[in-house]
């Protein structure tokens, strides 16, 4: 009996070994390179899969491919929203000795920073590098991390909210309790809203299954929502928008893809441009020997913002967009 059991176990182990070895494509043999061009291997770790992050990654890749045609090789990995996956991915990058890591979203930058203190890391889609403990200061990061920030002036969003929902008194903010990036944005938004005389209610959700319950309750207490670029909410916009639109509550958001997916409006930076900027920074580091420790964090200013309105949602809510806004 035990022998039989051992046999089965051994077979299973064998199958597993075969499966694993099947997954790993053998490392490419060092190809004889006639021309002296160095090929930079770049590891990209993207935290989750949704339009904003996808656009940033695309922008990054395009920037580098434009500047270094045939000289960059990307290893693009998606953590599918799981911190543990991000850690596994960056450890792989470190073992592969990549020239540079591009980390898309706060938690992937964190994972990368834990994994290496020598390989340069360029971040993107991070709101506040300092508050998230990724760099010492925005002007002089001081370590191997630098990048482009998606921080967009929340005051502009507050003005947008005031223009579209003039009667609003109470504004709700819903975000994932697991995302520090969203909390930073929520705290900032709360301060900006309260400065304009709004009452602010903050709600957190732990996973996608709580969104329904929490938002339904929130809809009875607020006149409008402001949604930061929270990864969980961004992935589940229809879940929230179904309820808010049915309840007649407008949602102003921080990011254009969330607006397209079902929220009312935003003044948003372009995540493609953001990723592109990060790609340019990576170029400086790779080719011109810029040091991440002295490369300041890049932040967009207000002039880079574009107004996005989801007309379908506006019609459903019966909101007429003021002429002044549509320039």
């Amino acid at each position: 009996m035990t022998q039989k059991k051992n046999l089965v176990l051994a077979m299973l182990a064998l199958i597993l070994v075969f499966m694993l070895s099947g997954c790993n494509t053998p490392a490419p043999a060092p190809t004889p390179t006639p021309e002296p061009k160095t090929v930079f291997k770049i590891g990209i770790v993207q935290l989750a899969e949704f339009p904003a992050l996808d656009a940033a990654t695309q922008g990054f890749q395009d920037a580098l491919t434009e500047k270094l045609p045939d000289q960059v090789e990307f290893d693009l990995q998606n953590a599918q929203g799981e911190q543990t996956n991000a850690t596994t991915i960056v450890n792989k990058f470190v073992n592969d000795k990549v020239s540079l890591i591009m980390a898309n979203a706060t938690n992937s930058v964190k994972a990368a920073r834990e994994a290496t203190s020598t390989i340069p890391i360029v971040g993107t889609s991070v709101t506040d590098y300092v508050k998230s403990g990724l760099v010492e200061s925005n002007e002089a990061p001081g370590g191997n991390v630098t990048g482009a920030s998606d921080n967009n002036p929340v005051d502009v969003q507050v003005e947008l909210l005031a223009a579209l929902v003039p009667d609003a008194e109470v504004v709700g903010i819903v975000f994932s309790s697991a995302e520090e990036n969203s909390e930073i944005q929520a705290v900032e938004a709360k301060a900006a809203l309260e400065a304009k005389g709004y009452e602010v209610k903050i709600y957190t959700v732990a996973d996608s299954n709580e969104i329904q319950t929490v938002v339904t309750k929130a809809c009875t207490e607020v006149d409008a929502f402001y949604e930061p670029s929270d990864n969980l909410i961004a992935s589940n916009v229809p879940t929230m928008a179904n309820i808010t639109t049915a309840a007649g509550i407008p949602v102003i958001t921080a990011e254009s893809s969330m607006c397209e997916a079902g929220f009312l409006a935003t003044y948003s930076i372009s995540y493609y441009d953001l990723g592109h900027k990060a790609g340019e920074m990576a170029f400086e580091i790779l080719v011109n020997g810029a040091d991440p420790a002295t490369t300041p964090i890049f932040t967009f200013d207000t002039s880079n913002l574009t107004l996005f309105i989801n007309q379908e949602v506006a019609d459903a809510l019966g909101i007429v967009i003021p002429e002044g806004l549509l320039k």
Partner: protein
């Protein structure tokens, strides 16, 4: 405040009914088969994934339910095979399937999240139209409950029940108990798949993490339901009890939120609630 709570009530009931179908699945595995099946967290998301992918591929919302059910059944079959053929303990077999299903669900969807917008596709139900969603959910649950009741009165249904009641005795009667266990898990996870598919339509998207913690909600539905029905043996009452349990769970949840429980503490509250209800039948069984 009471008014606003009442306004939210239909939403909670619809949500409760959809999760109640998952509860029916858990009732089959946990209550009837006496098998703590953790596949549920995975097969629930599988149901949602298959539904979203088939709707996006142009199949009707009704067909997508069938596909989701079949996918869930396949997951149940795998868990059953791991347990009965490879002799892996029940809990571990479920955990293994659940783990494997994460990758499989990613492969099915190709990404972590698929949106199925009600403006683009004809969905069976949507949280944007609660009263319609309620009608559809009630109709589907009635059909499912009646089918289950009918099944557990057939000869093979009795064999499944006998296996759950007393495996040794059932085997002595010539029942292939391993096959019955697999069948029970297939039925259970098929229901779970349907539930996941309905939730995906209800909320307008399927998410890779939508099944996280599903087993706890299912267990809550079953244990609250059996308390409400005073552990009645009749199947119609048992299954309706589970549905009622699920609805009460969501209503209680919205009550405590309205009373001001911080949403951070929701999970802790759920765990305590389930523990409370689980503890009582235990006392009773010892006394008997």
């Amino acid at each position: 405040m009471i008014i606003s709570f009442l306004n939210a009530l239909p939403g909670s009931v619809a949500q409760g009914l959809i999760w109640g179908i998952l509860g029916l699945g858990v009732a089959v595995s946990y209550q009837i088969m006496d098998y703590a099946d953790l596949t549920v967290d995975g097969s629930f998301a599988t149901g949602g994934a298959v539904c979203a992918v088939s709707i996006a591929a142009g199949y009707s919302a009704g067909f997508s339910l069938v596909f989701a059910a079949l996918a869930g059944m396949l997951a149940g079959f795998v868990t059953g095979t791991l347990h009965t053929r490879l002799k892996i303990p029940a809990i571990l077999a479920g955990i293994l399937s659940q783990l494997a299903l994460y990758s499989i669900n990613m492969r099915i969807m190709g990404k972590s999240n698929i949106t199925i917008s009600r403006t683009k596709y004809a969905l069976l139900l949507s949280s944007a139209n609660i009263s319609h969603a309620l009608v559809v959910a009630v109709a589907i649950t009635i059909v499912l409950v009646l089918t289950l009741v009918w099944f557990f009165r057939t000869e093979i249904g009795y064999a499944v029940r006998a296996t759950g009641n007393n495996e040794k005795m059932a085997r002595a009667q010539g029942i292939d108990t391993d096959a019955m266990k697999r069948l029970g898990l297939i039925i259970s996870n098929g229901l779970v798949g349907i539930s996941g598919a309905l939730l995906a339509q209800f909320q307008g998207n399927a998410d890779i993490n939508m099944g996280r913690g599903a087993i706890v909600i299912g267990l809550a539905a079953v244990v609250i339901g059996s308390r409400l029905m005073r552990h009645h043996e009749r199947f119609v009452l048992r299954f309706s009890g589970t549905l009622l349990g699920s609805i009460s769970y969501y209503v209680v949840l919205s009550v405590v939120i309205y009373l001001g429980l911080s949403t951070v503490d929701l999970k802790l509250f759920t765990a305590c609630l389930v523990a409370l209800f689980l503890a009582r039948p235990g006392q009773k069984r010892r006394a008997a």
